[in-house]
């Protein structure tokens, strides 16, 4: 049926059939971070949450409405949170009025968090204690630092996993319509 000649040449097709998909898989697979998980909350309203802050006040997510908001999950035991902290402080100072900010403590003690803020600087925004871990669950948080960007209408626009750099913060804020 098949002549030896066509078999002899056709068999070389096996090479690209194996190598091309494998190479594609290996190299595209490399260009991504396996820890980054797309959030199903993007484009949806921010789930409502409330809790006690480090200062003992009551905080409700309803107070974020009307301005773009940054919600940052952090913990004193998380080294990348230390790297990220100056970026948050600078953002807080640059946008004193047109940006709402709130920190949410992730699996940490209030004492640990206070020590962290004394050491690395207290921002202008409150930190909510999430003792039961429910706020983290409702936002699908996988580990600190993790930051959500919410627009003035209360719709979640982006989630960033891992420490934010100045540039990344600027780009996210610009997407929310805030000038640097």
């Amino acid at each position: 049926m098949t002549s030896p000649l066509s078999f002899r040449s056709l068999r070389w097709l096996a090479l690209p059939i194996v190598l091309v998909p494998l190479g594609w898989l290996l190299f595209t697979g490399l260009g991504r971070d396996p820890r980054l998980i797309p959030s199903p909350l993007i484009g949806k309203p921010l789930p409502a949450f409330s809790g006690t802050t480090l200062d003992g006040a009551t905080f409700s997510s309803a107070s974020l409405r009307g301005r773009p908001a940054v919600i940052n999950f952090w913990a004193s035991w998380c080294p990348p949170c230390v790297d990220e902290h100056p970026v948050l402080l600078a953002t807080g100072a640059a946008h004193p009025d047109d940006l709402a900010m709130v920190g949410i403590l992730y699996q940490d003690t209030a004492d640990g968090a206070r020590n962290f803020l004394v050491r690395y600087g207290q921002g202008r925004w409150p930190t909510v204690l999430d003792t039961s871990g429910r706020i983290a669950i409702d936002l699908g948080v996988t580990g600190p630092p993790e930051t959500f960007f919410v627009d003035a209408n209360g719709i979640v626009r982006a989630r960033h996993v891992g420490p934010l750099t100045t540039d990344e913060m600027r780009a996210q804020l610009a997407a929310l319509g805030l000038a640097p």
Partner: protein, 660 residues
């Protein structure tokens, strides 16, 4: 000074391996003996140089030389000497250095042993091994340099990865695994050499079989020791989580096992040469894929190494290796094809071949499950994973079929079986299996998986026992020996077959232990106040006190220990702890394990409250877990028995060589 020496050794090592590769190729073409000798010496030299680099690293670790980035990241002044030494392979760059040591060590051993034999094959074997070693040297020279320096030099380092300094087993299972992995380069090199020189003959097959079995034994022991480590350290009560790191070790093991089986058909019938080559190539490629998976950050895993640029190097190496090997195989395809299948549908040959289909089926399932997150991500951009239940459920039926074949294979004659043989050989084993299952059921063992595995394991053991007795009886009759003497003589006269049976017996033991421990264990979680008790099965635990203190061997580590009194079997005081390492956010469990032949009592500390003095404990009864390790040891022993040099075989080889 010492790190500089280490670095220098690596650079010269790269040059030596590149020279060796070139000289082997030149020598292969010209047949110039002097060139080949120099190539071989360059490889011995490369081995000595990596050994020197490893020594430099160990000295740097032991002297806490924090000017070396690797030491600063993986060592602290308080790290005990033992953990300092094994830090050599506990993180990415060091593990590649150690890997290169083993790879060049294997290469030197093979080149030395065959220095006067297989003159046509050996130069190409040497060239392949030298190029492989050169790749690892290049990785260390560029993206994975273990001797990168830092300034300013810190006074204290980060300390070793907390998970990896919590148990002395860390000193055992990575070397075994790495020996297994790196050893698989030898059959691959012989495969490449055979394809280039067109010598896929019986002699080649015998050498490749032997040199697959040697690393296979080490890989088997490494996998079992890794499971043991996971059981003793991770504190979740299990020993196998289908984590990518575990799968990475299992994949080459599966294809190597398939090769060991089909090579027996290939040897006997002089066929299956394409298939044999394909398995050898697949095994080596899968060791590279495993390294890639665990070192590139492509998939997440409990103990993946830090993400690094090394991934691109390994991806390229996988493609080049597979491309060259597959290209050579396709090139030689017309000369290697089989005209006819090796045996009838019901024959020992076909049992081996169906065995290969099943091994490859498990390989496919494990590879697919491991890569599934990457495939989904690349194809659709979304996230999904498959977890342990998927792996268990998908592989269990394939494994059950495999176990069945383990029993069927040895009872079927080569060539083809008649109904009379089938009737004679299988009636008793089937009845024995049924009887054992009925007894187990009466003893309250329920569930499909444990009963099926128990029945099949009995079937396999009885078939093999019957085989051995049959052979021994006829030998005893013919030579007037007592039966035990006949059994021993029979086994030592055909080491390969009876070593194989022993390995199969080990697999039976492991299978039953795994099936029973996975399905028939019980566990309980409870929060206790001081003086409180918890009862599970025959065991009663009383919580005496909570102790928080620094670890004697490393003061930077705080141990929070729940001291308990156990009443019931193995009664006495026991303690289970959580250890807080300065460089780890999560505390590391130190479970208390009371092992016995029947069942293990396994107690982990989930959490504690130092003010209220309460502890949350997770207590497991894990039946038969000890037998997993015993079974693993039997498998390794069986394989060792099979490859043990047989003086009579050596006599045959000598006679053949003299005649040729």
């Amino acid at each position: 000074m010492i790190p500089t020496l280490g670095h220098l050794a690596m650079v010269i090592g790269l040059a030596a391996t590149l020279y060796a590769a070139g000289a082997f190729i030149v020598g292969a073409r010209s047949g110039d003996g002097a060139v080949l000798v120099s190539a071989r010496r360059a490889m011995y030299g490369a081995f000595a140089l990596v050994a020197l680099a490893c020594l430099a690293m160990i000295i740097s670790l032991l002297t806490h030389d924090f000017s070396v980035l690797y030491v600063a990241r993986n060592n602290a002044t308080t790290t005990p000497p033992f953990y300092s030494v094994i830090s050599l392979w506990a993180a990415l760059e060091g593990s590649i250095l150690f890997w290169t040591l083993l790879a060049t060590g294997w290469a030197s051993l093979v080149l030395y042993r065959y220095r006067n034999r297989l003159p046509a094959l050996m130069p190409w074997v040497g060239a392949t091994l030298a190029l492989g070693a050169a790749f690892f040297f290049a990785v260390m020279a560029w993206p994975g340099d273990p001797f990168v320096r830092v300034t300013p030099v810190g006074l204290e380092g980060n300390g070793p990865n907390a998970l990896l300094q919590n148990h002395p087993f860390m000193g055992l299972h990575p070397p075994l695994l790495y020996l297994g992995y790196t050893g698989m380069a030898i059959p691959f090199a012989f495969g490449i050499a055979a394809l280039i020189t067109r010598r896929t003959d019986e002699e080649w097959l015998a050498v490749v079989r032997r040199w697959t079995l040697v690393p296979w034994i080490l890989l088997t022991m490494g996998i079992v020791a890794g499971a043991w480590w996971s059981y003793a350290v991770l504190g979740w009560g299990g020993y196998w989580a289908w984590d990518p790191v575990e799968n990475a070790a299992l994949l080459p093991w599966l294809t190597a096992t398939a090769f060991i089986h089909s090579s027996m058909v290939a040897e006997r019938r002089g066929t299956l040469r394409i298939w044999t080559h394909a398995l050898v190539i697949a095994t080596f490629t899968l060791t590279l894929v495993g390294t890639f998976l665990t070192r590139s950050g492509v998939v997440v895993s409990v103990h993946a190494f830090t993400t690094s640029g090394i991934g691109f190097w390994f991806a390229a190496a996988i493609l080049v290796t597979l491309g060259v090997a597959l290209g050579l195989l396709i090139w030689r395809l017309p000369e290697l094809g089989d005209r006819r299948p090796p045996g009838a549908v019901v024959s020992r040959e076909s049992a081996f071949l169906f065995n290969n289909v099943l091994f490859l089926g498990i390989t496919f399932a494990v590879l697919f499950g491991t890569l599934y997150p990457v495939i989904v991500e690349v194809a659709s951009g979304s996230r999904a994973t498959v977890g342990a239940p998927w792996f268990n459920l998908v592989n269990a039926p394939i494994f059950v079929a495999l176990l069945f074949l383990t029993g069927v294979g040895p009872a079927l004659p080569w060539g083809g079986a008649s109904w009379t043989t089938v009737r004679e050989r299988f009636a008793v084993p089937i009845l024995a299996a049924v009887a054992v299952v009925v007894v187990a059921w009466a003893l309250a063992v329920h569930g499909l998986a444990p009963l099926a595995i128990l029945g099949l394991a009995t079937f396999v053991l009885v078939v093999m026992g019957d085989e051995v007795l049959r052979g021994a009886r006829s030998r005893a009759r013919g030579r007037d020996e007592s039966l035990p003497v006949a059994v021993v003589r029979l086994a030592t006269r055909n080491r390969r077959r009876y070593g194989g049976y022993l390995a199969h017996a080990g697999i039976c033991v492991m299978s039953v232990a795994i099936a029973v421990s996975a399905t028939l264990g019980t566990d309980r979680v409870a929060t206790l106040h001081e003086g409180g008790t918890l009862t599970l099965g025959a065991y009663t635990l009383t919580y005496d006190r909570l102790v928080v203190e620094p670890l004697a061997s490393d003061v930077r580590v705080t141990e929070t220990r729940a001291e308990l009194t156990l009443a019931g079997p193995q009664s006495g005081p026991i303690a289970t702890a959580l250890r807080d390492y300065p460089n780890s956010a999560t505390a590391i469990a130190t479970p208390a394990v009371r092992s016995a032949l029947g069942e293990d009592l396994y107690v982990t500390l989930l959490s504690y409250d130092t003010k209220a003095k309460t502890v949350a404990l997770h207590v497991f009864i894990n039946p038969l877990v000890s037998w997993i390790w015993v079974g693993g040891a039997i498998v390794a022993l069986g394989a060792l028995f099979a490859i043990w040099p047989d003086r009579r075989r050596l006599a045959v080889e000598a006679a053949l060589a003299a005649g040729a």
